[in-house]
């Protein structure tokens, strides 16, 4: 399939997504499959996104059976090295460092490559005095990389903490789903934390909790609205309003056009 075909297919699916939303249907699953590319188009100024750290790839430190092949398949299908796309972009001409986790690449799980890209992006934003925006969509740490994947939580959190202490603005945007090692590290550390409606956000997955407590979870548990009610996020933002809301927050922080 050519890139053009992929694009047009994605565009079409996005239109139908809006229609489904209007009908009040749950579109979370479809949205997860929706590509990061269309998100970039919706949020950033036209052609302003410049991808960085493209070649950072995950190794297979444990030699986990079948991991390399599985990863290769996703790399070929999605034409990207791992579950994270990072770079710089402009939002209404305000320059930002922006990263996206791709939930369609091995559940958006965080292994070496994702952790390294987020860290590199954060360090770059710190060096260039850019605001940092990260869109998360992840099932958590990437099991196949074992401890190497767990320490990514420490690495990314340390980078974010250093960035924030130096006065950087970090806006964390949570989309469906954001759980496990990603939600328990950089995704929860935003100066401002925003989330998409009905996104599943939590530490443990619903199945694990149900096993622990031995009963079914109530409806809406661990969804964005639940988190807002419990004081864990700042605001819920509709998918179509990201560009407007992010621009407004940047404006309120005195980020100027350049």
């Amino acid at each position: 399939m050519s890139i053009k075909e992929v694009y047009s297919r994605k565009k079409k699916s996005w239109r139908s997504l809006i229609k489904m939303r209007e009908r009040g249907e749950n579109t979370n699953k479809l949205e997860r499959e929706d590509s990061v590319q269309s998100r970039i188009r919706e949020i950033c100024d036209r052609d302003s996104f410049k991808e960085m750290f493209r070649t950072v790839d995950s190794p297979d430190p444990l030699g986990f059976p079948g991991y390399e092949t599985k990863k290769k398949r996703f790399q070929e299908k999605l034409q990207q090295s791992d579950a994270c796309i990072a770079g710089t972009a402009k939002i209404h001409q305000k320059k930002v460092a922006i990263g996206f986790l791709d939930g369609s690449f091995l559940m958006g799980s965080m292994g070496y490559a994702v952790g390294e890209k987020i860290t590199l992006l954060t360090e770059y934003a710190g060096k260039k005095n850019l605001p940092l925006i990260i869109f998360s969509a992840s099932g958590g740490a990437r099991m196949q990389e074992g401890m190497f994947s767990l320490v990514q939580m420490a690495k990314t959190s340390a980078a974010i903490e250093a960035f924030k202490r130096k006065g950087g603005l970090y806006i964390s945007c949570l989309t469906h789903p954001t759980t496990g090692g990603v939600s328990a590290s950089f995704a929860s550390l935003g100066d401002i934390i925003l989330a998409e409606p009905e996104a599943l956000i939590g530490f443990a997955g619903p199945r694990v909790i149900e096993q622990t407590i031995g009963e079914k979870l109530p409806e809406g548990f661990q969804r964005s609205e639940f988190l807002l009610e419990h004081g864990m996020i700042d605001k819920i933002v509709e998918r179509t309003k990201w560009r407007r809301v992010l621009n407004h927050i940047l404006y309120l922080h005195g980020i100027e056009r350049r």
Binding site: D57, S58, A113, M147, E161, S188, F203, H230
Partner: protein
């Protein structure tokens, strides 16, 4: 093949040893290593998590902040301590005590022993993710020396949240992993019974992790374990307390930044190999072209 089976038993045996109720708990370590321990309770927000102990004590004349997870030995204790599964309140208490330690320039010593952070409804409602993230972010940047010792089972973010230290040590028979081998096997193979196989694959023993550079030191359990820990702490504190706190925080950042250097090296080597093979292909192609011409 035979060798492989033996190894798998060895790794899983360590898991079982690490989980054994016979092993000393944080209370024993505090009693043997420090004097004048005073326990401090509560997260100042909601409640006190009994699965995580914290307080101030003296270590050979140096005041230190001690934080440790406890599992409990009797069934009653286990229930009281929630089997060592720390709640958000516990991580927030830990962060509060670290903040306090930073203020009074006290080194922080953590004892890690947990099957993981608690995955329950209340924990989720109270922001387990946020509590873990805040705790590990603060620990990574705080301006006071820190030493982490994994004494038993160190699983998932629940262990990592207290392990982002200047010195990361493990007892010889402790294990440190992304998830329990049972959980790992059931996620990847939908079969928790394959835990022994998983524990071999996961590289969770102190020896393996030391080799990868994910931890700094393995503490021998032969002879008196308290003596060994005492020696390690004395040496580490002597080194760390000499360094300027701001510089120490920078050094810690560099350390955390390169914890995964073994994986990074594998990646860089892979990338270099790929480049080389690409170049040689190009050269080969060019050579062929030359011949054709």
């Amino acid at each position: 093949m035979e060798n492989r089976t033996r190894e798998s038993v060895a790794a899983y045996e360590k898991v079982l040893i690490a989980r054994s109720k016979e092993r000393p708990s944080v209370r024993d370590y505090i009693q043997h290593l420090f004097e004048g321990f005073i326990e401090l309770h509560g997260d100042r927000l909601y409640k006190d998590d009994p699965s995580l102990t914290g307080g101030i004590a003296m270590f050979h004349g140096i005041p230190v902040t001690v934080i440790g997870q406890k599992k409990g030995k009797t069934t009653e204790e286990q229930i009281q301590y929630n089997f060592g599964m720390t709640s958000p309140e516990g991580f927030r208490k830990a962060k509060r005590l670290m903040l306090q330690a930073e203020k009074f320039h006290r080194p922080v010593i953590t004892f890690i022993d947990t099957p993981g952070a608690y995955p329950g409804m209340e924990a989720e409602s109270n922001g387990q993710s946020n509590a873990i993230a805040e705790c590990l972010a603060f620990m990574s940047a705080m301006r006071t020396p820190s030493i982490a010792i994994i004494t038993g089972e160190g699983n998932s973010g629940g262990a990592l949240a207290l392990a982002v230290a200047d010195r990361i040590c493990m007892l010889e028979n402790a294990v440190y992993s992304i998830l329990s081998p049972e959980g790992f096997a059931s996620i990847l193979w939908k079969d928790a019974k394959r835990a022994p196989e998983a524990s071999e694959l996961m590289k969770i023993t102190a020896e393996d992790l030391k080799e990868y550079g994910l931890i700094d030191e393995v503490i021998s359990e032969e002879g008196d374990v308290y003596d060994s820990i005492d020696m390690m702490l004395t040496k580490a504190l002597e080194e760390l307390m000499r360094i300027n706190p701001a510089r120490l925080a920078t050094m810690r950042y560099q350390k955390i930044r390169s914890l995964d250097k073994a994986a990074g090296a594998a990646y860089r080597k892979g990338a270099a190999d790929e480049r080389n093979s690409y170049q040689s292909q190009q050269q080969g192609a060019a050579g062929q072209k030359g011949q054709q011409l």
